[in-house]
């Protein structure tokens, strides 16, 4: 790099160096509070991973888990979930409202929040079912592995917890099938404040959990499946997302991760995004591996994200834009009753 270039760069950015920053929303106290929360989460997860193994071995569950071949509504031959089939539902529970559903091959989750929650609170409940043979060693956060035998859930053995070690929360785990686990976690209103109704709420949510369903997912848009790729995840909440992946390599799903994923997301009222160009008359942010078309259908924006744009057919932004143009929204995406199956 030449000295001239160096001088040009420094001179160019000089106006950004000299001016005073605008008023700040940065809050050190919040950083400490959130940081403490994350520290506890990290400790809990690490402890949970160890305890899960110990507990499962102790009760002899691992030896009873079949390795493959079990099927149920919507599950695949290998006992995994089809991300486009919802096998989990929760009927309305007093005090909670639905927030989001996510599905992958190994687990499906419904997130609920307390009716009184604000966007700043951590108060939420999470219901998860795991695929065959997938022990819940990644269960949520803010809770300790349960060791207390509880009342059966849907006629199956369950364990509960309700404590503040290291943070406050309550929940249940049970076997939703003879060979698969489910969990409900209800967080406390604050990390250090126990919710006296937490376990009761967890029981209510567990009782309201339906695991025998097989419901095709619906989206406000249809997307073509890129050649050679398969759907590996789906989520429906503040945004609706379909995730494609390359097929597994010769070692199957346990082998190295496929080289790249393509995420197609419909965002409702997406936050600030700087537009860099126009796509079909809509402002858009286009950069390598990422095309975001703003307000493509009313308040709905579309994002197509490629995680490794160096190694696939979407290496150029042009090809990614071409793909984005093939995504079609329904006429009135605000009306969920008009949503459709995502693939076409």
């Amino acid at each position: 790099m030449s000295d001239d270039e160096e001088v040009y760069g420094v001179t160019l950015l000089a106006p950004l160096r000299e001016q005073p920053p605008p008023p700040s929303r940065v809050d050190i106290a919040t950083a400490i509070r959130t940081g403490n929360h994350r520290r506890r989460v990290r400790m809990t997860l690490a402890g949970t991973a160890c305890l899960v193994v110990v507990v499962l071995v102790a009760v002899g569950i691992i030896s009873t888990l079949p390795t493959a071949g079990t099927t149920a509504g919507g599950s695949t031959e290998a006992g995994m979930f089809d991300p486009l089939i919802r096998n989990l539902d929760v009927t309305p529970v007093a005090g909670f409202v639905y927030r989001a559903f996510t599905a992958e091959a190994v687990q499906q989750t419904i997130m609920l929040v307390r009716s009184s929650a604000t966007t700043d609170s951590f108060t939420q409940a999470k219901v998860t079912i795991y695929a065959v043979g997938k022990q819940p060693n990644t269960l949520g956060f803010d809770w300790s592995w349960p060791t207390t035998l509880a009342e059966p859930v849907h006629g199956r053995a369950s364990y509960s917890f309700d404590d503040c070690d290291p943070v406050c929360g309550a929940g249940l785990v049970w076997q939703w099938r003879a060979d698969s686990w489910a969990s409900v976690i209800v967080e406390g209103p604050d990390n250090r404040v126990r919710d006296p109704q937490g376990l009761s709420a967890a029981r209510q949510i567990a009782a309201a959990t339906q695991t025998g369903v097989s419901i095709p997912v619906r989206t406000p848009m249809t997307v073509p499946r890129p050649a050679g790729m398969r759907v590996v995840a789906f989520s429906d909440g503040p945004a609706v997302r379909v995730v494609f992946n390359d097929p597994p390599g010769p070692n199957g799903p346990n082998g190295p991760a496929p080289p790249h994923m393509l995420q197609v997301t419909a965002f409702y009222r997406l936050g600030r995004v700087t537009s860099t160009t126009m796509v079909d008359g809509h402002p858009a942010h286009v950069e390598r591996g990422n095309v975001t078309v703003l307000n493509l259908a009313g308040d709905w924006s579309l994002e197509v994200l490629d995680t490794k744009p160096d190694q696939n057919p979407f290496a150029s932004t042009d090809s990614l834009v071409r793909y984005a143009r093939t995504v079609r929204f329904v006429a009135n995406p605000d009306d969920r009753s008009t949503w459709v199956s995502p693939l076409r």
């Binding site: 270039e5 001016q19 940065v26 940081g35 965002f267």
Partner: protein, 167 residues
């Protein structure tokens, strides 16, 4: 309050203006810059015991900031408003000079990594090798990104390209 927390608060308080200046150049707008800094100092608190032992704490924190910025597009989910009733924050008052606004707008059009290289090189005053370490790439890549980033800035600002001889 532990001694470590006091040290953390002292450090962050003293370095906040610098972090916010770099974050503002990276993010392009004040709100996202504050989000970046907030996330960075939160991560810093989580890792403070290790970070405070670093031989170059400023570099450690700067790397955290840039990695957070580069990872940010993968975290776009977090920017989605969760309910329709939550208002967008009002735009921050614009403190930029006309020249600053122009430069910031041009910078915002660069790809993330190119933008980060220019900001680290010419605003944070890091050497090529230091930028390479932060960006986890080779010095050659930093030089190449710098060249292409400056060329793009010239184009966007309507400035004539220097001759090959000049470079």
């Amino acid at each position: 309050v532990s001694d470590a927390t006091v040290e953390y608060v002292d450090y962050v308080t003293g370095h906040l203006p610098q972090l916010r200046r770099v974050a503002h150049a990276l993010a392009g707008d004040a709100h996202r810059a504050d989000d970046l800094v907030q996330e960075t100092i939160t991560k810093l608190f989580v890792h403070w015991r290790k970070a405070s032992q670093a031989s170059n704490l400023d570099g450690y924190v700067r790397t955290m900031l840039v990695r957070t910025f580069l990872d940010e597009r993968r975290l776009r989910w977090a920017r989605v408003r969760l309910t329709a009733s939550v208002p967008e924050p009002a735009p921050a008052p614009d403190h930029d000079s006309a020249e600053g606004v122009t430069v910031r707008a041009a910078l915002a059009q660069l790809p993330h990594r190119q933008r980060a290289v220019l900001v680290l090189r010419f605003l944070a005053d890091l050497s090529v090798d230091e930028v390479a370490e932060v960006m986890r790439c080779s010095p050659g890549t930093v030089k190449s990104q710098t060249f292409h980033g400056l060329a793009a800035m010239r184009r966007l600002l309507g400035e004539p390209a220097p001759s090959v001889k000049e470079l």
